[in-house]
Amino acid sequence: MLEMSGIFKVFYEGTPDEKIALNKVDLSMRPGDFVTVIGSNGAGKSTLMNVISGKLTPDVGSVFIDGTNMTALAEHKRAAKIGRVFQDPMAGTAPTMTIEENLALAYNRTKKRTLAFGVTKKRRDFYREKLEMLHLGLEDRMGAKVGLLSGGERQALSLLMATFTDPKILLLDEHTAALDPSRAELITNLTKEIVEKLGLTTLMVTHNMQQALDLGNRLIMMDKGQIIFSADEEEKKNLTVEKLLAEFQKIKGGGGLSDRSLLS
C-alpha cells in the first residue's frame, strides 16, 4: 500500500544550520498495516508524514501509494488517497464553518467539487450517521460552528473527517498529544475502533510509548532521521516499554540515555 525507498530530506542544505531530517528512510506497508512511530523530538517523524502527504518533496527517494508513484505529485492531488489528522486540534477543521459544512468539505476529498450544495437533506442524514459513531452527541449540533467545540471534540471530528471517505492510507501525527489525558484516551479508543472497523492502513506517530505498544500491528523507532528499530507483528506482541528503552540504549550505545524523556 505504501512503499518508500531511499528517502533523504535535508533542510538548510549547505549552511551551518543544515539539518538532515530524513536520512535514507525505507518503509513498506501492506494493506491493513497499522504502524506506530516513536522517537525523540526532531527525529524526523513529522517530516516523514509530510513527505508521504506531499507537503514536502523528498530530495532523493520515491513514494508509492497504492501502486502509484506519488513522489512529485502535488499535495492536493494525492490527498484523494490520504487521510490526515494533525497534532494541533485547530489544524484539521475550519473554525468559522459549521460541523456539517466541515463534513461536506471532507466528503469532497475523493470527489470533484461542483456547484451542487455541500449540505443537502440526504447528505445531512449521512453525516449524522457518521457523527453518531463518535458518541459525543455532535449529531445534535450539526449547525454549530466548529470553533465552538472543545479540543477533544474537534480532534474527534478531524478523525472522522479524515476517515469516513475510506483513505488508502491514514496519517496520524501525535493527534492526541495536545489533549488532556481523558480526552486523549477517548481519541485513542476512537482511533482504534475506526481503524479496525474500516481496516485502514495507518501510520501513527505518538510520544506515548504505551500507546505505541497498545495500538497497531507494527512499530518503528526513529532517531536523527533514520529508522533505528523496527518490530514486526510477532516481535511487537512481546514488547514492553522497558524493552523498548533498553533497545534504544543498546542502539545509541548507552550512557545517560536511559531517561524516558529522550523518547518522548
Binding site: G92, A94, L105, N108, L115, A116, G118
Partner: protein
Amino acid sequence: MLTALFGAVESGVIYAIMALGVYLSFRVLDFPDLTVDGSFVTGGAVASIMIVNGSDPFVATMAALFAGFLAGCVTGILHTKGGINPLLSGILMMIALYSINLRIMGKPNVPLLAEETVITKIESWFASDWSILLFMLVVTLIIKFVTDLFLKTEVGLSLRAVGDNEGMVRSFSANTGWMKVLGLGLSNALVAFSGALVAQYNGFNDVGMGIGMIVIGLASVIIGEAVVGHSKIARATLAVVVGAILYRIIVTLALRIEFLDTGDMKLITAIIVIIALVLPKIIDRQKAASRKKKRLQQLGGKANA
C-alpha cells in the same frame, strides 16, 4: 437634505455590489486585495467606452463584469503561481490597471451624459423618482442571494475554507491556488460591475475615481458587521449591503458640516475604518481590566475573611 439622503441611499445600493466583492476577498478568502482600486475603474472604463461606441448599455455593463473577473484572476495568479505576497500582488495589479484603464478610456475622463445608459433606460421604462433605487436594490439583492447560495455549494464551501484554514482544505484535495484565483476573479467581477454602474449613475467615468475604493469597501463591511452582525453567511452579506448604504449616509451627513468639503471624504473614510478597527480592541482591553479588578477584589476579600 432629504434629496441628499435619497441620493446617498441610491448610490449606497450601487456601491454595495462593490462592497460584496470586497467581502469576498477580505472576509471569505482572508486576502487583502488592493486590486479593487483599479478594477472598479476598469469596470467603468470598459462600460463607458463601449457605450460611447454605441453598444447596448446592459451588454457593456456585463462586459465590465468580465473585465473585472480577468483582472482579479491575474492578481490571484501573481500570488499563487508567482509567489508574490497578497498585498503586493494587489498593489502591482492596481498600478498596472491605472495605465490599462487610461488606455481603454483614451483620455482621463469619459463623459456619458449625452449617452443612453442603464440609468437612462430604467428611467425611460418606469417614470418614477424611485425607479433607479428600486431597480438597483433588486439587482443588488439578487447578487447577494446568488452569493449566499454559491457559498453553500461544494466549490463555495472550499472557497470559504481557504480563508479559514488553507492547510486543512488542501489535505481534503482542494486546489487552494485555483480557489484563490477564482475567488479574486469573482470579487473583482463584482467590483467592476459596480464601477460600471457608478460611472453611468454619475454620468462620467474618471480614471481617478477608484482611489481609496478598497477602504470604502472595507468601511462598508465593517460598519455593516457592527450593526447587523455576521453569524451566518446570509446575514453577513446583508450586513455588507446595509453597511454600504450606511456609509454613504454617514459621508453625506459629514459633508454637511461647515468646514468639511468633498476633498475630505477619503480622510473621513479612513477615520471611520480606523475607529471601527481600534474600538473593539479598546473595549476588550477595558473589559479585561475590569475583570482583573473584580478578581483582585474577590481575592482580597477572601484573604481578609
